[in-house]
C-alpha cells in the first residue's frame, strides 16, 4: 500500500504544482506586446514569409483573420517531433527527439493502461479475455510501452552523453542538469529491465494502474515489489511525476504560454475592449523604482509618471 500512497501523493503534487503554474500565468497582468514573427495564427499566405495584419493599409478598420488551424499545424509537429531543434540544432535533435518522444509514448502508455483498467472494472463481455478490444488494447500497450522505453533510454543516455562530452553544453550545465537526466534515465532503465525480466506485455504495469484506481484492492491490484527493478520503476516514475512541474522541465506544457501569451500574442488594443480595461488597471499600479529620473514615490501611479517629465528636468 505504501507504493500507492507514494503515487497518490506524487500525483497530488503534480496536480497542485501544475495548477499553480497555470493559475499564476492566467492571473498575470496584461503585458505589453512582444510578439515575434512569424506568428502562426496569421493567414497561411502571411505565415509563409512571416507577415502580419499590420501590412494592410488601415489595418484597424479590418477584421483580423486568425487561423487556429495554422497554430495547430505548427504546434503539433513542434511538440511531437521537436521541429525547431531539427531545423536549428540537428546534432542535438538526434538525442533530444528520442528522449521527448519516449516520454510522450510513456504518457500515452499510461493513458492506455488507464483505459485498460477502466474496461476491466466495467466488467463488460466486450472486454473479456480473448475479445478483439482487449487483444487490441494489449497490443497497443505493448507497442507503446516498449517503444517509449527503448526511445527514452536511448534519448536520456544520449542527452547525458552529449551534456557530458560537448564542451559547449558542459560549460553551462549545473549538477541539477545531470541529476535530472540521471533521474529520468533511472526510470527508463528500471522499467525496461522490469519488462525484460519476463513481463513483455506490461502485466505488472496494468495491475499497478488497476491498483491505483481501486485503492490497491488486493483482488484487482498488482502487489508491488516483486522485483527490485519494478520497485525502482514505480518509485522513480511517481517521484518524476511530482518533480517535473517543479523544474524547468515543465516547459513540456508551459510552452503553451511561451508561444501563445508572448511569441504569438499580437492582439491589438482596441478602444473600449478588454485589453484596454486591463491596461487602465495596470496604469493605476504604483511603482517604486529607485532611480531619480523615474520620480516614483510609491504613491504616484504609472499613469502619473508616464504623463510627467523626468525628475532631472524639475531642478
Amino acid at each position: 500500500m505504501g507504493f500507492y500512497i507514494l503515487s497518490y501523493l506524487c500525483i497530488a503534487v503534480f496536480a497542485l504544482a501544475t495548477l499553480y503554474r497555470i493559475y499564476r500565468q492566467m492571473t498575470m497582468p496584461v503585458h505589453v506586446r512582444w510578439e515575434i514573427y512569424p506568428v502562426q495564427h496569421e493567414t497561411s499566405a502571411k505565415v509563409a514569409y512571416g507577415g502580419s495584419y499590420m501590412e494592410e493599409i488601415d489595418w484597424w478598420e479590418k477584421k483580423q483573420e486568425k487561423s487556429l488551424l495554422g497554430e495547430l499545424l505548427y504546434m503539433v509537429p513542434e511538440i511531437l517531433f521537436i521541429r525547431g531543434l531539427w531545423k536549428e540544432n540537428r546534432g542535438l535533435w538526434w538525442v533530444s527527439f528520442p528522449f521527448h518522444f519516449g516520454l510522450y509514448m510513456m504518457i500515452a502508455t499510461v493513458i492506455l493502461l488507464l483505459g485498460h483498467a477502466g474496461f476491466t472494472l466495467w466488467g463488460s463481455t466486450v472486454f473479456s479475455a480473448g475479445s478483439t478490444l482487449r487483444t487490441l488494447l494489449d497490443g497497443f500497450i505493448a507497442v507503446m510501452g516498449w517503444g517509449g522505453l527503448i526511445l527514452g533510454n536511448i534519448g536520456s543516455l544520449g542527452l547525458l552523453y552529449r551534456r557530458w562530452t560537448d564542451a559547449e553544453l558542459r560549460n553551462y550545465s549545473s549538477p541539477v542538469d545531470y541529476f535530472n537526466l540521471l533521474f529520468i534515465l533511472l526510470f527508463f532503465l528500471s522499467a525496461l529491465v522490469s519488462c525484460l525480466s519476463g513481463d513483455p506485455f506490461l502485466e505488472g504495469a496494468k495491475a499497478y494502474v488497476m491498483g491505483l484506481l481501486t485503492g490497491g484492492h488486493p483482488l484487482n491490484a498488482h502487489v508491488p515489489g516483486r522485483s527490485i527493478s519494478g520497485i525502482v520503476a514505480i518509485v522513480s516514475a511517481s517521484l518524476l511525476v511530482a518533480y517535473i512541474p517543479l523544474t524547468h522541465m515543465s516547459h513540456m506544457f508551459m510552452k503553451y504560454f511561451l508561444y501563445h501569451n508572448v511569441k504569438w500574442d499580437d492582439a491589438p488594443n482596441r478602444r473600449g475592449g478588454g485589453i484596454e480595461a486591463a491596461v487602465r488597471k495596470n496604469l493605476n499600479l504604483r511603482p517604486t523604482w529607485g532611480a531619480k529620473h523615474v520620480g516614483a514615490d510609491g504613491q504616484k501611479t504609472w499613469l502619473d509618471i508616464a504623463s510627467s517629465a523626468p525628475t532631472e528636468e524639475k531642478k
Binding site: Q25, M28, P29, H31, V32, R33, W34, E35, I36, Y37, P38, V39, Y49, G50, G51, S52, M54, E55, I57, G84, L85, K87, E88, N89, L92, L169, N171, Y172, S174, D177, H248, S250, H251, M254, K255, L258, N261, K263, D266, N269, R270, R271, E276, V279, R280, N282, L283, L285, P287, T288, W289, G290, A291, K292, H293, W302, I305, A306, S307, P310
Partner: protein, 537 residues
C-alpha cells in the same frame, strides 16, 4: 585561443575577461583581407582608470568605480532591490509574464548561440552567447532572492555577487542589439534577448545607469528640448525650409511641407536624425505624399518632429513618457492616423509596444510608412520610370519592422516595381541579420565602441551585403536600401570604416529616395553615387 568562460567567471577579478586577438574574427573576403588582422584599438588607460572596463575590449557605459567598500555594498544592495522589482507586478507589469516564462524554462541547449550574429562574429566568445547574460541573471536571482538559494545554488549553478559581477553585467547588456534572432530559433520559446532588455531596465530604472547617448542625450533631451538631436522646434522648421529648397531643385516645382495642420489625415513622424544626416529622406517623403495627393502634416511641437523612442531599449518609464507625448500631439492635431517614417525602432515603439499603454483617445491608429508607400506605388498614384533605378539594389530588413512587426512584403513589392536589379540578401525577411547598430549601438560611440561595432556587431551585415553583390563588377555602383535611420547609420559607418565606397562602390540610402529617383517627372536624380548622378535625362 578561445578559453571557455562560465557565467560564474563574471565575478572573477581580471583586467579583461574576454579579449579578442587579431585574426580571431571571421575573415572578410577580398578586397578586405587587410582588415582580417585588425584588432579593436586598446582603451586608453587614462580614460578608463576610474570606470569599469574589465569585461572585454570596449566600453559602452563607463560606470564609475565605487570609491570604497561601503559604496560598493550599497550598489550591490540597490542591484538586488532592482532585481526584485523586475518580478513585481506594480513595478514591471509591462514585461512580467514574458520575463518569468523566459527565466524559468531555458534548457541551456545552446540553439540560440548559433543564431546570434554577435556571438558568431566575435569569434564565438562565450560572453556573447545569448544565454550567457541571461544565465548570470538567473543564477543571481536564484541564489540571492529565492529562499534557500545559497544552498541550492551549489546544485543549480553558483555565482558570486560583487561590484565586478554587477558592473560587468551592466556592460554586457550593451553587447546585444536586442535583434531577437535568438528568440526566433528557441524551440521552447525562451527569449534571452528579452532578459537582456530587462537587465538594462534594472540598471536604468533602479540605479540610474545607462549609456549617456541613450539616456542623458537621448530620452531626457528628447523630452526636454524636443529631439534627441538637440534640435528645437524652430530649428526643425528651419531645417525643413532648407530641405524644401533642395527638393525643389530635384522636382523643378514647388514642394509643400505642411506643418501643424489640424484635421489632416496623416501625422507623419520622422526620426529627426534624418533631417540632419539624411535630409533627402525627409524631402522624398514630402515629394511622394504631395504627388499622391495625401492629406498630411508634420508637427512642430517638441517631440512631435522626432519619432524616436530610445526608452524602448532600456527604460519603460522613459519609453512611456515619449510614447504618451507622441500620441498626445496626434490627438490634439485630430489626425486620423500616425504614419511612422523610415525608423525601425520608432515603428515598434509606437505601433506595437505602446499599443498596450495608450488608452482612450490617445489610442490613435498607427501605420508603417512601408504600407502607406506601397499603397501609393502599387495603386499607381504616382508616375514611375523604373529604368532610372537601373543599378543593383539590395534590401536590409530592420529587425524592428520585420521580425518584431511582420511588415515584410510591402517594401519588397515596392522594390520589385521600381528597382529592376533588386536582389535579396541571404537570409532575409524575419530571419534577417541585424545591421549591428540596433538597440542604440548606432548612436553610441564613446571610448572605442564605434570600432567594436564596425569590427564585431556590424560584421555579419557587411558580409551579407558583400555576398548580395558578389557577382557585380567592382566599378558598378551598388545601393543598399535600408529603410531605418539607425540601420542607415550603422551601414554608413561600415561603408566608411572598410572604405567600401572606394573598394566596392557601395552606397546606401532609404526606400523613399529610390521611389523619388524613379518618379517620371523629376528633373534631377535624387540618388547620386559620389559625383555621378544615377541617371541623366
Amino acid at each position: 585561443m578561445n578559453k571557455p568562460l562560465n557565467p560564474s567567471d563574471l565575478a572573477r577579478p581580471s583586467e579583461c575577461l574576454c579579449h579578442i586577438e587579431p585574426g580571431e574574427l571571421p575573415p572578410l573576403p577580398p578586397p578586405y583581407e587587410d582588415f582580417n588582422q585588425t584588432a579593436i584599438p586598446p582603451l586608453k588607460p587614462d580614460k578608463i582608470k576610474n570606470i569599469e572596463a574589465s569585461l572585454d575590449d570596449t566600453v559602452a557605459i563607463g560606470i564609475p568605480k565605487p570609491a570604497n567598500k561601503q559604496e560598493e555594498e550599497e550598489l550591490v544592495r540597490r542591484f538586488l532591490a532592482g532585481l526584485q522589482k523586475l518580478f513585481e507586478k506594480n513595478n514591471n507589469w509591462t514585461f512580467l509574464q514574458p520575463l518569468m516564462l523566459s527565466m524559468e524554462h531555458c534548457a541551456k541547449c545552446q540553439t540560440c548561440s548559433d543564431a546570434c550574429p554577435i556571438y558568431e562574429m566575435s569569434g564565438k566568445k562565450d560572453i556573447h552567447r545569448p544565454m550567457f547574460r541571461a544565465e548570470v541573471l538567473r543564477r543571481i536571482y536564484n541564489k540571492y532572492l529565492k529562499p534557500g538559494g545559497k544552498i541550492t545554488a551549489k546544485f543549480t549553478g553558483d555565482i558570486d555577487l560583487n561590484w565586478t559581477t554587477i558592473a560587468r553585467l551592466a556592460e554586457l547588456s550593451y553587447r546585444c542589439t536586442l535583434c531577437r534572432r535568438c528568440a526566433t530559433v528557441c524551440p521552447i520559446g525562451v527569449d534571452n534577448g528579452l532578459i537582456n532588455h530587462e537587465i538594462r531596465k534594472l540598471f536604468s530604472q533602479e540605479m540610474g545607469i545607462a549609456p549617456k547617448e541613450i539616456h542623458d542625450k537621448g530620452t531626457v533631451q528628447h523630452l526636454r528640448v524636443g529631439s534627441t538631436t538637440g534640435m528645437t522646434p524652430a530649428a526643425a522648421k528651419d531645417s525643413m525650409e532648407f530641405i524644401q529648397e533642395e527638393m525643389e531643385e530635384i522636382t523643378g516645382s514647388k514642394v509643400e511641407v505642411p506643418w501643424d495642420v489640424e484635421g489632416a489625415d496623416i501625422l507623419l513622424l520622422h526620426n529627426a536624425g534624418e533631417m540632419l544626416a539624411w535630409p533627402e529622406n525627409v524631402g522624398a517623403f514630402a515629394i511622394i505624399f504631395q504627388a499622391a495627393g495625401l492629406s498630411w502634416t508634420l508637427s512642430s511641437e517638441a517631440a512631435g518632429y522626432d519619432a524616436v523612442n530610445y526608452g524602448l531599449w532600456y527604460d519603460d518609464v522613459q519609453f512611456s513618457r515619449v510614447a504618451v507625448r507622441h500620441a498626445d500631439i496626434a490627438r490634439r492635431l485630430k489626425v486620423k492616423k500616425i504614419v511612422v517614417g523610415e525608423c525601425g525602432h520608432a515603428h515598434k515603439a509606437l505601433t506595437v509596444i505602446a499599443d498596450r499603454l495608450l488608452t482612450g483617445d490617445l489610442n490613435i491608429p498607427r501605420e508603417s510608412a512601408m504600407v502607406t508607400l506601397e499603397e501609393i506605388v502599387l495603386k499607381g498614384k504616382i508616375k514611375l520610370n523604373p529604368s532610372r533605378n537601373n543599378f543593383p539594389v539590395t534590401l536590409h530588413d530592420p529587425c524592428n519592422i520585420v521580425r518584431a512587426m511582420g511588415i515584410v512584403e510591402p517594401q519588397r513589392r515596392i522594390l520589385r516595381k521600381i528597382a529592376p536589379k533588386f536582389r535579396e540578401m541571404t537570409p532575409h525577411g524575419v530571419m534577417n541579420y541585424c545591421c549591428g547598430g540596433g538597440s542604440g549601438f548606432a548612436i553610441m560611440s564613446g571610448y572605442n565602441f564605434a570600432e567594436w561595432r564596425n569590427l564585431v556587431s556590424s560584421r555579419k551585415k557587411f558580409l551579407q551585403i558583400l555576398e548580395a553583390f558578389k557577382d557585380e563588377p567592382r566599378e558598378v555602383p551598388k545601393y543598399v536600401c535600408a529603410p531605418c535611420s539607425n540601420c542607415k547609420g550603422a551601414i554608413r559607418d561600415i561603408i566608411g570604416y572598410y572604405s567600401a565606397e572606394e573598394r566596392s562602390r557601395l552606397y546606401y540610402g532609404g526606400l523613399v529616395e529610390l521611389i523619388v529617383n524613379a518618379m517620371a517627372d523629376m528633373k534631377k536624380p535624387m540618388i547620386r553615387f559620389g559625383d555621378e548622378p544615377s541617371w541623366t535625362s
